[in-house]
Symmetry: C3
Subunit: 357 residues, 3 copies
């Protein structure tokens, strides 16, 4: 079993039984929130590792596809749980938060951590440019419905949902095309970016074991997400926080913890290409894959989700996309650029903290 | 005559008599709209070719100036027709649509078409950077009056018109300076961009013939534009579309068709510099030359045109300028970048479709 | 004394006694405004020179720090005078105007002046990229409170002030980090940018003399600023201008005059790195040092200053930051890029002129 548990974060697995115990005992929701959040962190990491091991048993093409699609499974599961509860604002806040967290906090911390060791770190400029452009495209997908909502509020909810659905389809198609680009027609640009099981310095798991671990972990994440989402409202109330702040900042931190530790580790090994790929790729998946899938899924639940984010969320994502684009455009990073990303995150977090419900 | 008719699009010329016949017969406005639109497409192409032939008879300086100034004569004629009818919203929508169509659809389609044949295509980075910066300047010229309108609505129409006129003058001066830059002081940067009659693989027409064709074609475009503009309102009503959608999407497609086919052709010949120059140059002419000229002309008609575009138009142009800037900044393109531009266009078109009148 | 007076601007010193005489004689406030404004121009230049001489007597580290911190002392003194008068709108307008003036007018004029002599001028791309990114960070610091104000206006003044204070702290920390970056960890990037006393072609002043001049000049600027600020309101009224226009355009021109002449001079000597460093560095100091310091100082005066700028100010700064970022990103400049910056400044000035109070 030593091959399943490889990170010091795995000690947090102890929170799985604790979270369940708290729930059963109808303990303080704050405890349930904290325990389930702590439990998801190592599970999200294991999900990533299990996916990587699984991919070593399938062809490179399918493998990359699996990797790319399961990369944010934890976020997707959390969001689905919130969606089922009808907490649309929390769903959208967790998407926003996950994007912000990845491109500002994860990437910023990576650049700081790497930049303290190396004067400057290089990464593939073409791949970075494509990432920035796709981020901007994703931001456009957020801006348009929000702008529509504020300039044509009288069009009614039905039309806004129809438009959201169509824009979700465009985003989904762009995601598919971006996979075609990065996995097939321009694969070589991303050559240095795959970090498979071997990078983790271990023998790949067997196929069955990979699938078994994936199944167990996914189920556990689903259970923990149920508890987490159920505890958001009373927790926010108790801490005097808004649900949006909890979704944008706290839940997103939980969902991104695995990417965070991996990206920072890679940056410290001077593999900035990987760190950038993880942070930006993860954001892109949230915006171009998870968000559309949630819109589609919402129709199954009978409560159509629209893509109309709050003005502040839209502005925050747009700002972040531009800052990352500016910082990444030269294909180099240093600690100060990382500090700037973290600084922007701090200012946004301050504003989200003070924003009313 | 074979030298005048060179494109398969020329078969659409048959719609000239048809459009007139429909108008005389007071036929369904939908038919008039469609026929006059189809007729303008080849005429706009011929206008461009005639201009190029004419320029081979004058000095390089005057020739480039002619080329640059007549390049969007079709759009200008259509807009003047709408202006005379007092359809200010349609005028502005056709400007917006022409800019969006050129930098998103024409450039995007060119990048896709070229990118399917070539893994990556290069274009002059300095010229592209100048183009992006000028586009941003043009966007600023749209943003400022709109923002003024929404933050100081109480200042009244007279002041908004005065401000629009002054901003139009600044834009017009910037256009003049940009010609000075590209045709004189930094001509060499654009060396690869001129595509004159010889590129079309034919002998230049005589001077008289060029002028004659120009005169006839311009007159025909003016007549067709009258019919087109007169049919916009009933057509929009009949199709359940808003006039803005018709202006931004349909009329703009008609006016841009010639640029579209030329740019795609150039991209497929791996002359991405030319394709970029056509798409961005055309947008810049619309914003920095056609728009100011329309403002000036509106004073002759006694109904001053302001430059206050709707928030959605301003946002759409600004978004597009940034996306194109991001995509073009590295001086390279590939099919995915083209697909992104088309994707942004699709999302904007969806929103314009649903926007109320 | 010939070493203190080195610039033809120094003849303007004659306005010091004149301004005082006008004030004592209770002359037309327009005269007081004009005279004190003219007096500040050479004083700001002398302040800069005295600082440079002083730094030749301390270690390089402390020297650079002094240089960086005292660089905008004139603006700070003017703003403090306005702050003490409770003219919060004027304080903020002068900050906005100083940023716009530096990155659009000073940099634009430098690029034009240099570009008329040299076809293209290069500057350090990494340093320029860092400058652009920091400018964007500063813009974010303006955008967030304004956006908060407009989407959550009901939160009340107390919360807006608390948020402004926290954001001011973040900006201040980022300024400190940027000094650490440019003066210590990545000093070599800015190697060509220091222009010390020797650049002025003279022997450094003695330590005592430097301090004495600094003290006298600072006192004189403070006195003149009192007169200037006191005359803003009646002057604006008399000229039919708003206080915001006077703050953004006129007062800022006065505060920036010294940077202006130095930067243009450097550009004409093909030292574009220096010109860029002066213009952008000065803007960054205003946004990341002067603005936070004013917020902190306002608590001493018992009238807390918030960072909520008007939508037009926020938009103007954001637009300018993007235009400069686009123009500077390739590490090259030419006269047309300079003309664009001036063009954007002209359009913004037109709008500010028409904006209501």
């Amino acid at each position: 079993m030593k091959r399943i548990f490889t990170s010091w974060l795995d000690v947090l697995l102890v929170f799985i039984p604790l979270a369940i115990a708290f729930e059963v005992a109808k303990a303080d929701p704050l405890l349930i929130f904290a325990a389930s959040a702590c439990a998801i962190i190592p599970l999200a990491g294991m999900l990533g590792r299990a996916t990587e091991h699984l991919t070593s048993h399938v062809g490179a093409g399918v493998g990359s596809l699996l990797n790319a699609s399961l990369g944010n499974a934890a976020e997707l599961i959390i969001a689905l749980a919130a969606l089922r509860e009808g907490l649309h604002d929390v769903v959208k806040a967790s998407l926003t938060g996950s994007i912000l967290g990845n491109i500002l906090l994860v990437l910023g911390a990576s650049m700081v951590a790497g930049g303290l060791k190396y004067e400057r770190q290089k990464f593939n400029q073409t791949a970075a440019g494509m990432g920035s452009s796709l981020l901007l495209l994703a931001a456009v997908g957020l801006i348009i419905p929000a702008l529509f909502h504020f300039t044509a509020a009288d069009r009614g909810v039905a039309i806004e949902r129809e438009m959201s659905l169509e824009i979700a389809i465009v985003l989904f198609v762009m995601y598919g095309l971006s996979l075609l680009f990065s996995l097939r027609t321009h694969r070589h640009l991303y050559a240095g970016e795959s970090h498979d099981a071997e990078d983790l310095g271990e023998q790949p798991w067997g196929f069955r074991m990979s699938v078994a671990v994936l199944t167990v972990v996914t189920t556990l994440i689903a259970v923990m997400s149920e508890l987490l989402v159920g505890a958001i409202e009373p927790t926010a109330h108790k801490l005097g926080l808004t649900q949006v702040f909890v979704g944008v900042i706290l839940v997103a931190l939980v969902g991104n913890a695995a990417e965070h530790s991996t990206a920072v580790l890679m940056a410290m090994k001077n593999k900035m290409d990987l760190a950038y790929g993880i942070a930006v790729g993860s954001s892109l998946q949230i915006a171009l894959l998870v968000a559309p899938v949630l819109v589609f899924a919402s129709y199954l639940f009978g409560t159509p989700l629209d893509l109309i984010f709050t003005p502040f969320e839209v502005a925050a994502v747009t700002i972040s996309v531009f800052v990352v684009g500016f910082v990444a455009i030269d294909g180099e990073s240093n600690w100060m650029e990382g500090a700037m990303l973290v600084g922007v995150y701090a200012m946004l977090a301050i504003a989200f903290y003070f924003l009313p419900a």
